[in-house]
Amino acid sequence: MFLIRCPYCGEAREEQEFSYAGEAFIQRPPLTCSDEEWGDYLFKRKNIKGVTTEQWLHSAGCRRIFVMERNNVTYEILSIYTFESKRGAA
């Protein structure tokens, strides 16, 4: 049962306040892509065992989406950051 530190609210909150929103940084292909590429984008997931990079929405709090690196075997949360900070870095 996660206790998640929302990077916007700046404090830890109960898991129920959040919604898991899937793998992060999936690239959306252009309209001209092949059916395969579209299918891969739509459905195929890394589904990593270990450290995953995923999106979480603070749905009952500030309503912002952020990125969480989490070990889905130990359930450790390794880091949490905003998309802005990632974009800033890139």
Binding site: Y20, G22, D35, F43, V73, Y75
Partner: protein
């Protein structure tokens, strides 16, 4: 040794000294014709039907832990075939027919108990979906029935059918041939039958790599050394993506925790299986007397066989909604499994186009136990003939490219 009363009698008198291993423990050989990765029900069933129908093939099942220790050993054991779409209904019905003779086929009592399965409806839309599904089932040759509230109350007197609850029950679908089975026995029964046909069942043997080159597979690297094979069938449930990655393949799966729990054993009071999508929970009472209850799936991915407790609380509340007399009963144990969920809530039974000789049977998510014999059978045929069995063909991985999904989410009710 054939199992029978007589054998038991003889053995009983001798102090049970002569029973032989249900399946022998073997050291893996260096090469096989077919390797099945994953010693769950589906993998063992695949091996059994392969050995039965393709007797010349040398087959091994590689299991990283102990057989049946994956989802096969931790599911709520509901068996039914009343799925909505033709493709799914036919596949699950194929399985159900096999269940009906499985104890005899395997010479192992899998305690398949056709006590019937109710899927409750709580809203008008639920009732439309029930009507739709039952209508489809009947045309597909799957037994099904729409049951009114009054009738429900008669059949399951302990069910709350009053209107003064949050989500009053409005009716149900019923499949009389549905029921439950003893999950562990399924794994053990298939293991025994397969090993008697010469299949090597290798426990504590984790596949950690795949030798793929020139567009085909040559064997697998394991914690017990490299094992050669031209055909590798992967049936690893929650770990499908992990194995696929070894062959550089990505699957349309996410692995999530799914939780269940049991009460203390009590005298029989619930003689059938009751499932509810709207309040989310499903329950049966095992032959031992414990209520076996399934909760909802956790939203996040997880490979730890544990989920979040608020789902358990909610599910307990759902149970009390349905069966107020359960309120003072106590829960004994809760656990989780790792379920490989597919976007359309249907499995993938498919050769992998990029890698010749590699096959996957996965994506059963929250509801594959009921398919165990059928899944094993069609997968064995698919591997044996190197071409999809007709019932497996619609579950080809290609559907995620063409868009031909078989969406059992929408109207099929709970997928367990």
């Amino acid at each position: 040794m054939k199992y029978s009363w007589l054998a038991l009698l003889k053995e009983g008198l001798k102090g049970h000294q002569d029973w032989t291993p249900t399946w022998p423990d073997v050291t893996p050989q260096t090469a096989y014709d077919v390797i099945i990765v994953g010693g769950g029900g589906h993998g063992l069933a695949t091996a059994y039907y392969l050995a039965r129908d393709f007797p010349t093939k040398k087959i091994a099942v590689l299991e990283k832990g102990w057989i049946g220790g994956g989802n096969t050993g931790r599911n709520t054991t509901i068996v039914r075939s009343n799925y909505l779409w033709d493709e799914a209904a036919l596949l699950y019905e194929h399985a159900l027919k096999l269940w009906e003779g499985l104890t005899e086929e395997l010479d192992f009592n899998v305690m398949f108990s056709q006590r019937g399965v109710y899927n409750l409806g709580h809203t008008l839309q639920d009732m439309r979906d029930i009507e739709r599904r039952v209508s489809a089932n009947l045309l597909n040759g799957v037994d099904a029935e729409v049951v009114s509230v009054a009738e429900l109350k008669e059949r399951i007197p302990i069910l709350e059918t009053g209107k003064q609850v949050r989500y009053p029950v409005m009716g149900a679908s019923f499949q009389a041939r549905g029921g439950v089975a003893r999950h562990d026995a399924v794994a053990w029964g298939f293991a025994r039958a397969a090993s008697r046909l010469g299949v090597d069942i290798v426990q504590n043997c984790e596949v950690i790599g795949m030798d793929v080159s020139g567009g085909r597979i040559h064997g697998v690297e394991t914690t017990r050394g490299f094992i050669k094979a031209d055909q590798v069938g992967c049936v690893p449930a929650g770990h499908a993506s992990v194995l696929a990655k070894m062959a550089n393949v990505r699957l349309p799966l996410e692995s999530h925790p799914l939780q269940a729990f049991v009460s203390e054993p009590m005298k029989p009071v619930l003689h059938t299986v009751v499932m509810s999508n709207a309040v989310h929970g499903y329950v049966s009472q095992s032959d031992k007397g414990d209520l076996v209850i399934g909760a909802g799936i956790d939203s996040y991915t997880g490979y730890a066989q544990r989920g979040s407790p608020h789902l358990i609380d909610h599910c307990a509340a759902a149970m009390i909604e349905l069966f107020p007399i359960f309120s003072r009963t106590r829960l004994n144990r809760q656990w989780g499994g790792i379920v490989d969920t597919c976007p359309d809530a249907c499995p993938i039974i498919s050769p992998i186009p990029e890698v010749k000789g590699l096959y996957f049977n996965c994506g059963w998510g929250t509801g594959g136990f009921k398919a165990t014999p059928g899944s094993g059978h069609v997968f064995a045929q698919t591997i044996g003939h190197d071409t999809p069995h007709p019932l497996a063909a619609p579950f080809h991985i290609q559907r995620f490219t063409t868009g031909a999904l078989i969406d059992e989410h929408g109207a099929a009710g709970v997928a367990h």
